[in-house]
């Protein structure tokens, strides 16, 4: 069994390779389509780079060679995580990205975990009260949230909780200059995390609630639920064990698909809350028209999403014992 799991892991890892290559190809294509000289973009200095430096980049990226050779050079560079330079901060793109990635990952993980937890609870609750007032209320709320632009929701939450009620900070990741360390720092970050993660997560709460509800209702129609009742289990036990774990399977699959979307939402939400992650970096890059930095972010975030999907697949394997044998 363990061997089968390992095989599964290796197979999935191998499947990742062409996807990463395809991402690189898209990047290369976009780079070639961008206005201006490729070496200038890579230099990240918008024409202000020294001739010497652009010449060096030309050599490194094989820009004096035919296009297909350039492609191979480019892929080679990407695979060694050399994404060129950013003129934003006069630093290698990869350094800037890796610097910001943790904040984005924290925000995304917090949001998705909140969303899954709340979505499960609401979805199960709604399914158990199918057709009653609570169910309708949950469904209608989900529909409204589903239609709310996250960045706008964030602004409105700032108005309410930061400006009017003065309960939570309106932006940033921690209080600058406070010099907190250890637990105090963690708590400070958590406090700053509340609004952004709620903003980003709420949309997914709506999605998971609707999905969970539908999935639970489907599972409730299956015969093993009758068996569980015939065994004398209480409705609560049945809902949270037998029904929930089966109903989770399609929801987990969806969570994987959602990661790319989540990252997009994260960009907007980070912009709203000045959260120092990739999204904020995108905003800055846009202001400075730093195309190379943008391309780098596209590459890295795509790769992150691919691996997040891989992780979800593995979790799915843990949840569904049938999967290994397929």
């Amino acid at each position: 069994m363990r061997q089968a799991s390992l095989l599964f892991l290796v197979r999935r890892l191998v499947q990742v390779v062409p996807v990463v290559l395809a991402i690189a190809a898209v990047n290369f294509f976009l780079l070639r389509m961008a206005p201006g000289d490729v070496a200038d973009i890579l230099a990240g200095q918008m024409g202000h780079a020294t001739l010497e430096f652009t010449q060096q980049l030309r050599r490194e990226f094989g820009l004096d060679q035919p296009v297909y050779m350039q492609f191979f050079y480019y892929i080679g560079k990407l695979l060694t995580l050399d994404l060129g330079r950013s003129h934003l901060q006069q630093a290698p793109v990869i350094d800037l990205i890796l610097d910001r990635l943790p904040a984005t990952v924290i925000l995304m993980l917090t949001s998705i975990l909140i969303a899954i937890a709340v979505g499960i609870v609401l979805g199960v609750a709604a399914a158990r009260r199918e057709g009653r007032l609570a169910d309708t209320l949950v469904s209608v709320t989900a529909l409204v949230v589903y239609a709310t632009p996250a960045f706008w929701l964030g602004l409105m939450l700032i108005v309410l909780f930061s400006i009017q009620l003065d309960l939570l900070p309106s932006g940033g990741m921690y209080q600058i200059g406070a010099g907190r360390t250890g637990l105090a720092h963690a708590l400070d970050v958590a406090k700053h995390l509340v609004l952004p993660s709620v903003t980003l997560g709420l949309f997914y709460v709506a999605i998971y609630t609707r999905l969970m509800r539908a999935s639970m209702l489907e599972v409730y129609g299956l015969e093993f639920i009758t068996t569980a009742r015939a065994k004398g289990l209480s409705e609560t036990t049945i809902a949270w064990t037998h029904a929930l774990r089966n109903a989770l399977l399609p929801v987990v699959t969806l969570a994987g698909v959602q990661f790319g979307h989540l990252l997009g939402g994260s960009i907007l939400v980070e912009t709203v809350f000045a959260w120092p992650g990739l999204g904020r970096l995108v905003f800055d890059a846009l202001l400075q028209r730093d195309l190379n930095l943008l391309l780098g972010i596209l590459f890295v975030s795509s790769v992150v999403v691919v691996f997040a999907n891989l992780a979800v697949d593995l979790i799915y394997g843990l949840l569904d014992p049938r999967i290994v044998h397929k």
Binding site: P18, V19, A22, I23, V26, L30, M33, A34, P35, E130, L143, V144, Y146, A147, T148, P149, A150, F151, W152, L153, L155, M156, I158, V159, I163, A214, L217, E218, V257, F259, G260, H261, L263, G264, G265, I267, L268, T271, V272, V282, F283, L286, L287, R289, L291, L294, L295, I297, L298, S301, S302, V305, V306, N309
Partner: protein
């Protein structure tokens, strides 16, 4: 006629969908005739900046003293135009890919689905941002960028429909009499595969409007046109003193997107009665 009556009877049963259609109709009318009835240039500085609503200007003025109502009316045009065009383009591309993959199957299917999955995987909003940034923001590029990130879901759906249809008797019959593939795909199978696709692409209009608002909020909108997302982006700086300035265009987005989603669900009930969701 009879089919239309049946359609309406099924649609009408979903009260939310009827309300959604009415709301959407209002938005459409506002977009079509609003700027004619209220002919104020949304870029003109008409008064003191940051005036609250219900004063000299129905919805107040923004940070640059521009009329918010004029912006809302003109923004409705942009949102709807981009939403609908992007959804149409994505549907065309998606159906094309899905139809070919589903009809032919085999290696073509494998290859096309790999591409589709790939586009489903990469962060679509980031891709849209990069595409618009590289090609400069215009209505055209924004529409294309949204279409590029939206077509895969249509492709998957259309493929499923074509797979379900391709071995039916009537398709076999068409093949037997030597009908060319493109004719079978377009004239025979397509009408049967279309209903669920219509539902998905109507829902896609809503997503496209959300994406467009996000892009223009980041400053990636056509600089010559006012859009709701742009208005929110502008109002951000005065959130502390004039929260309504951001609230109004956002509420418009919410209402429009909600209405479209409700219409989409109504279409689903009316067009796919067998697939009634619970």
């Amino acid at each position: 006629m009879n089919g239309l009556a049946l359609f309406w009877r099924r649609y009408r049963r979903n009260r939310g969908a009827v309300a959604g259609a009415a709301t959407l109709a209002l938005v459409v009318v506002a977009a079509l005739v609003g700027p004619l009835l209220y002919p104020v240039d949304p870029f003109d500085m008409v008064g003191r900046p940051s005036q609250p609503p219900f004063g000299r200007f129905p919805l107040g003025t923004d940070v640059a003293g521009r009329d918010v109502l004029a912006g809302i009316l003109n923004g409705a045009r942009i949102s709807l135009v981009i939403g609908i065009l992007a959804s149409l383009a994505a549907t065309l591309l998606g159906v094309l890919v899905g139809a070919i993959a589903g009809y032919y199957g085999g290696r073509i299917d494998d290859m096309l689905m790999r591409v589709t999955e790939f586009f489903l995987t990469i962060p679509s909003f980031v891709l849209a941002v990069v595409v618009v940034a590289i090609f400069q923001p215009t209505v055209m590029t924004v529409t294309c960028a949204i279409a590029i990130v939206s077509w895969p879901s249509v492709a998957r759906l259309a493929r499923g429909e074509f797979i379900a249809q391709r071995d039916r008797e009537y398709v076999k019959g068409c093949r037997a009499i030597g009908m060319p593939d493109w004719e079978i795909i377009l004239l025979q199978i397509m009408p049967n595969a279309l209903p669920p696709v219509i539902v998905v692409s109507s829902l896609m209009v809503a997503t496209a409007i959300l994406t467009e608002s996000g892009l223009s909020f980041l400053g990636l909108g056509d600089p010559n046109l006012v859009s709701w997302g742009y208005m929110i982006g502008v109002a951000r700086t005065v959130l502390r003193t004039a929260w309504w300035m951001a609230a109004i265009p956002g509420a418009m987005i919410l209402v429009t997107v909600l209405a479209i989603n409700l219409v989409g669900e109504g279409l689903n009930d009316a067009l796919n009665p067998k697939l009634r969701r619970r």
